[in-house]
């Protein structure tokens, strides 16, 4: 199993470590609820160095990415980030990803558990002057997230962080270490993601100076457990749960990143057809106010007829009740629809709601 450059720190902090995407990762330090609320109210730091990073260079890099991703890469300019997805010919999703325009090249950030699959798939579609490289082992990635993230990091850099807009990035130094400072995250909070050299000594130093800077704000380390509850409160999809090769971006609510008018791309004919025929099912969010919680794989019903399955579900630490997402027949996808979740053999009433579950200002 792989380890991130911060493995020793996680161990010394007493983190509970689990296998995730081929890495030994911290799932929690003190408890999911406490860590979750630190990110919502203060500032938390995640080691997400397991994520995969690819570089795409060459004069045909743009046309290659236009063909392999669903969003319009021509709209990017240097310093901009784009959320996107890659699709198979049948419209099923290979992975969701971030595309960074770095001036003379692009950087793709993919899910850890898909790194090799994505790389092989992309490589199989390379044509012309395209140089695709897997740089995952060269990058460490720290996500600093929460309302106090800007104040924390601003103490450590001369870059004016307040000038970096959402889904933009810049290169700069934090505590003297060169890195990519990206105004992105998976929590719904103000936050930054820092891409730096994957070196244990450098990473440990950066980790420590960030914690020193954030001490007055109550900074804490956050594990993958809270990362999952934070993203779910925002209705963000998780590959392997809410999206995979059997789901397509339109039914997953990712129509906004799927630019059917940008020209040809892999999966487009299938997606155009699905749109013309009308979506048969949609990914929706639902809440239940009873003391029962939806879990991945639970059946969704209406009048004792099966209408779908839960893809993600949890107790929401912010709302203190159960929230979940799942695909339901189009007839039940409108907010306000009443559905049932089968929990231990009983149908528990739930309501379809508009996403996100937690409104951020």
């Amino acid at each position: 199993m792989k380890r991130t450059p911060l493995y020793e720190i996680h161990k010394s902090l007493g983190a509970k470590l689990v296998e995730f995407g081929g890495f030994e990762m911290p799932v929690q330090y003190t408890g999911i609820i406490e860590e979750h609320l630190v990110v919502r109210k203060k500032v938390g730091v995640f080691d997400v160095s397991h994520m995969g990073e690819f570089e795409v260079r060459g004069k045909d890099a743009l046309s290659f990415l236009q063909k392999t991703t669903v969003n319009d890469v021509s709209k990017l300019h240097e310093g901009r980030v784009q959320y996107s997805a890659m699709c198979y010919e049948n419209g099923g999703i290979v992975d969701d990803l971030l595309v960074y325009h770095c001036g003379d090249h692009y950087m793709l950030v993919v899910n850890a558990s898909n790194t090799q699959k994505d790389f092989d798939w992309l490589q199989s579609h390379v044509s012309g002057d395209v140089d695709l490289k897997d740089k995952s082992d060269s990058f460490a990635l720290l996500a600093v997230q929460g309302p106090k993230s800007l104040q924390t990091l601003q103490k450590l850099t001369s870059v004016d962080l307040s000038k970096i807009e959402y889904y933009h990035f810049t290169r700069g130094t934090v505590a003297g270490v060169p890195m990519i400072i990206s105004r992105t995250g998976y929590t719904g909070e103000m936050g930054f993601e820092l891409y730096l050299e994957s070196n244990a000594a450098t990473c440990s130093t950066i980790w420590q100076v960030i914690f020193d800077a954030g001490k007055e704000y109550g900074i804490a380390p956050i594990g993958l457990g809270a990362r999952d509850t934070l993203r779910l409160e925002m209705g963000f999809c998780l590959y392997g749960n809410d999206i995979d090769q059997t789901t397509h971006p339109l039914e997953a609510g990712l129509g906004w990143i799927t630019k059917l008018n940008k020209g040809d791309f892999l999966g487009k004919p299938a997606l155009v057809k699905a749109k013309e025929e009308g979506l048969k099912r949609r990914l929706v969010g639902f809440t239940l106010k009873e003391k029962a919680f939806p879990r991945h794989g639970y059946e969704l019903k209406s009048n004792s007829t099966s209408i779908g399955q839960v893809t993600s579900g949890t107790f929401s630490p912010s709302l203190e009740y159960g929230i979940g997402m799942g695909y339901v027949s189009a007839a039940f996808s409108e907010p306000g629809s009443s559905i049932e979740i089968v929990i231990r053999g009983k149908g528990i009433p739930a309501q379809v709601v508009k996403l996100p579950f937690v409104q951020k200002s």
Partner: protein
């Protein structure tokens, strides 16, 4: 992790503390740690007859759900009402304020099939 010597344990990570013909039941420190933050405990009502080895309730944690197995057969005499409003007691004090049910032990000879603390420690060390 803490495992009191005056308790008996199951392989599903429940404990029972016996006083006369009454038994207090809860989950172990190891079990609460594995589950993570407990947010709800579903328990049977007073008067329910538990059967050794059978499920008698459910624990919902943030990320996981787990069944509770009866260490012993017997009638439920009392529920811990405090954990209904403050389920985190199961995490913080699994052997004290985090207890779940008190039962009237139906057949004390069943206790012989439970583990003592040393056997339980060996089980979780595996």
């Amino acid at each position: 992790m803490n495992f009191p010597a005056n308790l008996q344990y199951t392989k599903e990570h429940e404990w029972i503390r016996v006083e006369g013909d009454a038994g207090w039941i809860g989950i172990t420190d190891y079990a609460q740690g594995e589950l993570g933050d407990v947010v709800f405990v579903e328990l049977p009502s007073v008067g329910t007859k538990l059967q050794q080895g059978k499920t008698f309730g459910t624990i919902e944690a943030v990320k996981a759900v787990s069944d509770l197995y009866a260490p012993i057969s017997g009638e439920v005499l009392e529920l811990n009402k405090e954990i209904q409003s403050t389920p985190e007691l199961v995490n913080k004090e699994p052997y004290d304020k985090g207890w779940m049910v008190k039962v009237k032990i139906a057949n004390a000879s069943e206790l012989a099939s439970l583990m003592d603390v040393e056997s339980y420690k060996k089980l979780i060390a595996k």
